[in-house]
């Protein structure tokens, strides 16, 4: 029975990445991120119950506390101070992005099962989620898009690691959480300083350093 859940959840996580790519509003970026984190937390819960490991259940709780509640709220409050609400200009329009993402999924299905059959559909799905996070990151022009992109990549990695290894050792999980939290705080502070100094959070304006 749990096998079904464990196959379903990566597919849903991949699906949520597609939702993210088609989002235009900053508020919906954050909502999608929250949804995706919740799915991963559920995954950690299922794996924890199945293997009976307390530390994986603890990871599930940490996941809910940090990525479902704390970080999205932090982003929301940071975002409330920034003027723009809707991203108007992308480097590519959304339908093209969706097609590119589909190609990425095909790519990871082709690339990954070559590994002796020990790597399964779950991992292929989650690696595509990581790649889609990368696409999201490079096609958004505002600093916020890059922060959310980073978080989604991190989410994908975390999920890949968890589903592939049936729960990492706790010390590595803990290290990842601490790194992630620091990264988000650092990025938040930096975005503030950038918007003070440049009067904008458009990363295209960051072009003073060339050559």
């Amino acid at each position: 029975m749990t096998k079904i859940y464990l196959d379903l959840l990566p597919a849903l996580i991949l699906f949520s990445s597609f939702i993210l790519v088609s989002n235009k509003r900053i508020a919906s970026y954050i909502r999608t991120f929250r949804f995706q984190s919740l799915l991963i937390a559920v995954g950690a819960g299922v794996i924890g119950l199945e293997t009976g490991r307390i530390d994986v259940l603890l990871v599930c709780l940490l996941m809910v506390a940090l990525k479902v509640i704390y970080i999205p709220n932090l982003l929301n409050s940071t975002f409330a101070n920034v003027t723009y609400k809707v991203e108007k200009d992308f480097f590519f329009n959304i339908p093209i992005l969706i097609i590119a993402c589909c190609l990425l999924v095909v790519f990871s299905y082709l690339a990954i099962p070559t590994a002796d059959g020990i790597i399964n559909v779950q991992v292929a799905n989650l690696v595509s989620a990581v790649l889609i996070g990368l696409i999201f990151m490079i096609t958004r022009k505002k600093a916020f898009g890059q922060i959310v992109g980073f978080l989604v990549i991190e989410n994908g990695l975390f999920a890949t690691a968890m589903f592939a290894t049936q729960g990492l050792p706790f010390i590595i999980d803990l290290g990842m959480f601490i790194d992630l939290l620091t990264a988000v705080l650092v990025m938040g502070v930096l975005v503030f300083r950038i918007s003070d100094e440049f009067d904008s959070v458009d990363v295209n304006r960051l072009n003073n350093l060339k050559g």
Binding site: G175, V186, M187, L190, N208, L209
Partner: protein
């Protein structure tokens, strides 16, 4: 004993924030970095005697062998010199009103967290923890890059943070594949333990391992500044305060390279040949040298030029590791040491030039030798050293690598490499020597306060790179030799 390496900086870091007196902060910093250096040198002796050190605490995560002790010694020694040099540098900044006293506290706090994370990365044997530490180095140093809060430095900090975080994230994907390749081979307690991975390398699953290598090489390669993932590096190195540029260039890049080297050892042992990793690393190494060569020829700012030169030297090390012959690996490791010392010395010297002339632009700086006789001379000689002129140590290691390329029978790679090195020498001579020869008016602004400790530190580094050019102490030789054996998988 070794655990003190991790405890001292992490205990000291908050103290910097609490101390009110500036002089006390400086003294504490000197004491901390000096004790780190002493401990690491004692450990070096132990490693030479016993070939590795491991403690039983926390599942034996603390592990040092000849390879990691080289990286560790570079961290602590350059850290010590940086902390000596920082005092004069920060006083000068403070005197010119560029920073406030509070910022000095932040500076030292972040610098020691940064040093802590780098020491952690070099002293653990678990790839997972090593990854966490390398990611943490980025986070600790971001605000040091953006220290002056100017437009350029904030831009550099943002690029540094975003590009390196994503790069490191990709490396983690590689680490997951590394684990997948070891399923059913290692026990749970040996999770991602590279000593065990390297011991059982033959039994690992090859396809997953290949993927792991590619992801790790791209990921850590981003952090090591290899082209084409190098784009964050010139900005970050040129915008950071000079002592931090020295740490970034002389120490941080090695840490990431160390991660790649560990993986190469495992993969090559598994595949029983170095062709797969070699092709990748040689290509990416030559590309780095090539891109650096082109840009050095046309560079307008001296700190950026030095940053591109770091990309070049990381490329050379990657090339040497890619060749994977004993002589090339030996040369690569020696080159890593030489580059760290030479480049950090140059960055320290640019600190004085930047303060005196107040500009980053090469053509605004004239008559360095007249205005700053001592530092200027050191900078001048250092440029010869970094361009690979004898009798300095970089010449010795570059020569070793070039010879090994030809001994290996790769004539095209060897010729291309020599040509690119010649272009880089021309670029450095063409662009930077103008700073010394042309006579200009005395720059405006007050002359520098004398920073005797900092000048002595620069001179000492110069002496080191000069002597190791033709004389290698027996201890160093056996250390590098043992590290080479570890990389080749003989031990």
């Amino acid at each position: 004993m070794g655990l003190l390496l991790l405890l001292i900086p992490i205990i000291a870091a908050p103290l910097f924030f609490l101390l009110k007196n500036r002089q006390l902060i400086y003294r504490l910093s000197l004491v901390v970095s000096a004790s780190l250096t002493v401990i690491s040198l004692i450990l070096t002796k132990e490693v030479i005697a016993a070939s590795y050190i491991q403690y039983a605490v926390l599942g034996g995560f603390f592990y040092l062998d000849s390879l990691s002790i080289i990286v560790l010694d570079i961290i602590t020694i350059i850290g010590l010199v940086a902390s000596i040099y920082s005092i004069g540098y920060l006083e000068e900044d403070l005197g010119r009103g560029k920073i406030s006293e509070d910022q000095i506290r932040t500076y030292y706090l972040l610098m020691y967290v940064f040093i802590f994370t780098m020491i952690l990365a070099a002293t653990v044997k678990n790839m997972g923890i090593m990854w966490v530490a390398i990611e943490a180095t980025t986070l600790a140093s971001v605000f040091l890059v953006g220290f002056y809060s100017t437009k350029e430095s904030l831009e550099a900090a943002w690029k540094y943070l975003i590009i390196c975080s994503v790069g490191i994230a990709i490396a983690f994907l590689g680490i997951i594949f590394l684990h997948l390749s070891s399923l059913d081979v290692l026990t749970d307690a040996q999770f991602l333990d590279w000593v065990a991975l390297s011991e059982h390398a033959k039994a690992l699953k090859t396809p997953a391992l290949r993927l792991a290598f590619l992801f790790i090489a791209i990921g850590f390669g981003t952090k090591a500044g290899l082209a084409p993932m190098h784009t964050w590096l010139p900005g970050a190195h040129s915008q950071a305060p000079s002592p931090i540029s020295a740490l970034l260039s002389g120490v941080l890049l090695n840490g990431a390279m160390y991660g790649i080297i560990r993986t190469v050892t495992i993969v090559n042992k598994n595949l029983n040949s170095s062709q797969f990793t070699g092709q990748f690393l040689i290509a990416i190494g030559l590309l780095s040298v090539g891109i650096a060569a082109v840009i050095i020829l046309t560079q307008k700012e001296y700190k950026s030029l030095l940053a591109y030169s770091s990309i070049e030297h990381m490329g050379i090390i990657a090339l040497a590791i890619g060749l994977f012959t004993p002589q090339a690996v030996f040369g690569g490791l020696f080159h890593m040491i030489n580059h760290s010392f030479t480049k950090s010395m140059l960055f320290f010297a640019t600190g004085s030039i930047l303060h005196r002339f107040g500009t980053n632009k090469i053509d605004k700086v004239k008559g360095v030798l007249k205005v700053l006789p001592v530092t200027g001379t050191a900078f001048y000689l250092g440029l010869f050293a970094i361009a690979g002129v004898p009798p300095f140590s970089i010449f010795a290691s570059e020569l070793g690598i070039i010879v090994s390329i030809f001994v290996d029978g790769r004539f095209i790679i060897g010729s291309a490499f020599i040509l690119l090195l010649a272009v880089i020498f021309t670029g450095i001579a063409l662009n930077l020597f103008k700073m010394f020869y042309s006579d200009g008016p005395e720059p405006e602004g007050e002359p520098l306060k004398i920073n005797p400790a900092g000048t002595v530190a620069i001179m000492l580094l110069l002496l080191v790179i000069f002597t190791t050019g033709f004389y290698m102490p027996e201890g160093l030789r056996s250390l590098i030799y043992n590290a080479q054996m570890i990389i080749m998988g003989v031990k």
